[in-house]
């Protein structure tokens, strides 16, 4: 067919880029290889798309994930067939567990040799079946545009998730007519929604009216749905305190008087106790993860549960819902709230009761203990927060954490006032996530300050991406919480395995020298007094900066609920300084 301006004939590779550009993609994180070379060859014809070369494909998947979490846009990553594709697996699973809209594109061997164990052939659609929302194998150039457009629809509709598109090399090389509009997908599959007059809605209203001790459990779905304003309006109207999940942090400002803080395994005692004493739980876009509920048999025994959730398969999965409102949270709240009378001021008694139950918590809190010469991770993270707040950059600061103790301390001591200011791997708990995800976040939001907070263990898993930071010229600040241990593993070994520190002590390179080898400035910090000045220096340097915080080795995250224990059976923070005790033990 001859070219014409309206519907040009393009190669499959060109169609891919044109469709991505049409869907609004401006950045792709990837790594080339044999089976995806035609796509990389066509890249130069699409100057609106910037390609970030990663150092390992796992990094590409985490970057696309971090890009999506920070911006709310779809992250796109790309890899070749075989090992390139399998290296994406951890990042896809991470995005799947946390419902992140993401597109992964992999090259595949030619359709003529599919299934023949050709060089670098792997059945990536088979491998990623349970860790993608959906995946596609494309063998013809004509299918590329409709498949990519469908993938964007799937990734962003309903409960978001990652979608993988595997494109054979011959499909990349063949030609087809490109018509972006004609490739538009049909309507998304119907997602269940409730009408205002439905029985479930009436039951929910009745339960809310009766409740004396209600609590909102605020989850990641609030951010996905963009329902932050509706949740706050709902809580303020009904005088309902809010407890958040890890991924829900920031959806309601930490300083809001109704915001209690994080619930669950390392949540504050008064939050978990309030959930146990509540007579009504309103679960907003959360899925009652085991890290949130503790022992299910004794979970919030006296409360009715209203579960507002877009994914029907989450209903009654872990906790039985008395009323399930299935649908997009924002839409459901927009229907629900007008049907409720604002509650009077005396409904504040419940909040007063919760606040009174804080008791000695502040006294026990490490933040409020006098400086004893030791550097604690909690202080470091709290000081990073104080520094950002003092500089008026708090809502323009995105913290990207790795997984482990520092992640929990971040959740406890960095007060998030705005959504999408915390990027962290919740469901899968992927160590090595922070550095690449921060690159994605910084590329998505170049005007924001991006802090990596990572442990010495997790940082080393993906440290090669330091080189990507330099190649892209990104001003990312890295705070390594270095305690010489895989800290969370060590804490569990201390608590549950009689201090048998099996394989948890970890040797690290001199991280500042490692940064210097990449041309990144850095500093060691061992004293609390040096934290804020160094943090300021990093933030204002205008370039990447790495700080190695040499912190107390055997510090523990408290409060803590042992696995299998009930939510109220938490181990509180010790009365005396835990670190001095461990120092004496040595």
């Amino acid at each position: 067919m001859a070219n014409n301006n309206q519907h040009p004939t393009l190669t499959g590779s060109e169609i891919l880029w044109a469709t991505l550009a049409g869907e609004g993609t401006t950045t792709v994180f990837g790594y080339p290889g044999g089976a995806i070379l035609p796509i990389y060859d066509a890249l130069r014809k699409f100057p609106t798309i910037h390609h970030v070369l990663v150092r390992h494909e796992q990094g590409a998947s985490h970057m696309a994930d971090g890009y999506a979490r920070a911006s709310g846009r779809v992250g796109v990553c790309m890899a070749t067939s075989g090992p390139g594709a399998t290296n994406l697996v951890t990042g896809l699973a991470t995005a799947m567990l946390d419902s992140i809209p993401m597109i992964a594109i992999t090259g595949q061997v030619s359709s003529k040799v599919l299934g023949s164990d050709a060089f670098q052939e792997v059945d990536i659609t088979g491998i990623t079946l349970p860790i993608t929302k959906h995946n596609f194998l494309v063998t013809r150039a004509e299918e590329i545009a409709p498949t990519v457009r469908k993938a964007f629809q799937i990734a962003t509709s309903g409960r978001p998730g990652p979608v993988l598109i595997d494109i054979t090399k011959d499909a990349q090389q063949a030609t087809a007519t490109f018509d972006f509009d004609a490739a538009a997908p049909g309507a998304a599959r119907p997602h269940p929604m409730l009408r205002a007059e439905s029985a479930a809605m009436r039951e929910a209203i009745a339960l809310i009216k009766q409740a004396k001790k209600p609590i909102i459990l605020a989850g990641h779905g609030i951010v996905e749905s963009g329902a932050e304003a509706e949740v706050i309006a709902f809580a303020e109207s009904q005088k309902i305190p809010i407890a958040t999940t890890l991924l829900g942090l920031g959806c309601v400002p930490a300083a809001h008087p109704l915001q209690l803080g994080m619930m669950g395994m390392h949540g504050e005692s008064w939050v978990n106790n309030a959930i146990q004493q509540a007579d009504l739980l309103l679960a907003f876009g959360m899925r009652f993860d085991d890290r949130v509920t503790g022992n299910l048999a004794s979970y919030s025994p006296n409360s009715k549960k209203i579960h507002i959730e877009i994914d029907p398969s989450e209903i009654n999965k872990n906790v039985r819902a008395d009323v399930a409102l299935i649908g997009d949270l924002k839409s459901v709240l927009q229907v629900l709230l007008p049907q409720l009378q604002p509650k009077s001021a005396d409904a504040g008694a419940w909040l007063d009761e919760i606040n009174a139950s804080k008791g000695t918590a502040a006294v026990r809190d490490i933040i409020n203990l006098p400086d004893n010469g030791h550097l604690y991770a909690a202080h470091v993270i709290h000081d990073i927060w104080r520094e950002a707040q003092a500089a008026g950059r708090l809502n323009e600061t995105i913290v990207v954490t790795d997984v482990g103790q520092h992640q929990m301390w971040e959740a406890q001591y960095f007060k998030h006032e705005a959504p999408r200011t915390l990027v962290t791997s919740g469901g899968l708990g992927t160590m090595g996530f922070a550095l690449p995800a921060a690159i994605g976040a910084k590329v998505a939001c170049p005007e924001k300050d991006v802090w990596v907070i990572a442990g010495d263990g997790g940082f080393q898993m993906t440290a090669a991406e330091l080189s990507t930071i330099v190649q892209e010229g990104l001003a990312i600040n890295v705070a390594i919480i270095n305690n010489g241990f895989l800290g969370m593993v060590r804490q569990w070994q201390e608590t549950f395995y009689e201090k048998n520190y099996s394989a948890s002590p970890i040797l690290s390179p001199d991280f500042v020298m490692l940064a210097a080898a990449h041309g990144i400035a850095g500093a060691h910090v061992e004293k609390r007094a040096d934290v804020i000045p160094t943090v300021t220096k990093a933030r204002t340097s205008g370039k990447a900066f790495l700080i190695n915080f040499q912190v107390e080795k055997e510090d523990g995250v408290y409060p803590m609920i042992a696995p299998g224990a009930a939510l109220h059976e938490m181990v509180r923070r010790p009365q005396s300084d835990p670190l001095l005790e461990t120092a004496e033990d040595e």
Binding site: L137, M193, I315
Partner: protein, 211 residues
């Protein structure tokens, strides 16, 4: 307990894997799974019978619908649906068999009682075809064995199920209760409660569950 799901799925490569993988992930054993063409183009109909706790039906159904390749899922139970299975049985029947030359005529009699049909007659064997509920098929096999016949081969299709009467919203639509003008391939809005009779609403499924 046994649950029976009827799923309409896209007729594409890999769809069966997606469905089977879902049950594997939930650690639920599939008792039988039949796939074939349905009344609509490019859509296969699966009947899946599985052994699972009583209160897991809703979650399985919702998980099935979560698959992008699934067009519609329904759960049916014995009282509201016709459930059938096809079975081929090859029985040894010849002069050397226990009942000698009478073997064949006895098998013919049994077949008549069970409304099975003789579909192949060989010197040493008879093949019967039978359609019915699982218990009826098991009854025929039991009687054959207890009568001393050697059952050489059994091939069962697994269960197929279809709701009785006008219970489904699709039937309601066909009767003109909702958008009768819509074409056959695009009326699958069953999870939209507005299009559903009350009993089909997903949230109401929870009421049937046991703690």
């Amino acid at each position: 307990m046994l649950h029976t799901f009827v799923a309409l799925v896209q007729d594409k490569p890999g769809v069966l894997t997606r469905v089977a993988s879902l049950f594997r992930r939930l650690n639920i054993n599939i008792v039988s799974l039949t796939v074939g063409e349905s009344e609509r183009q490019d859509t296969s109909r699966m009947t899946i019978v599985c052994e699972a706790p009583e209160n897991s039906a809703h979650r399985i159904r919702a998980s099935l619908y979560k698959l992008e390749t699934t067009v519609h899922v329904d759960e049916v139970n014995r009282t509201e649906a016709v459930v059938r299975e096809l079975c081929l049985v090859k029985v040894a029947a010849g002069p050397a068999q226990p009942h000698g030359l009478h073997s064949r005529s006895q098998i013919f009699e049994l077949a008549t009682v069970f409304r099975a049909r003789v579909v192949d007659l060989a010197p040493e064997s008879i093949m019967l075809e039978m359609t019915g509920s699982a218990s009826k098929i098991e009854g025929l096999l039991q009687v054959l064995r207890e009568s001393g016949y050697e059952v050489l081969e059994v091939s069962r299709t697994g269960r197929m199920a279809m709701r009785r009467g006008q219970h489904t919203s699709r039937v309601l639509k066909a009767l003109g209760t909702k958008e009768s003008g819509s074409e056959a391939g695009s009326d699958l809005l069953d999870l939209d409660p507005d299009a559903l009779p009350n009993s089909d609403q997903l949230p109401n499924q929870f009421d049937e569950e046991v703690d």
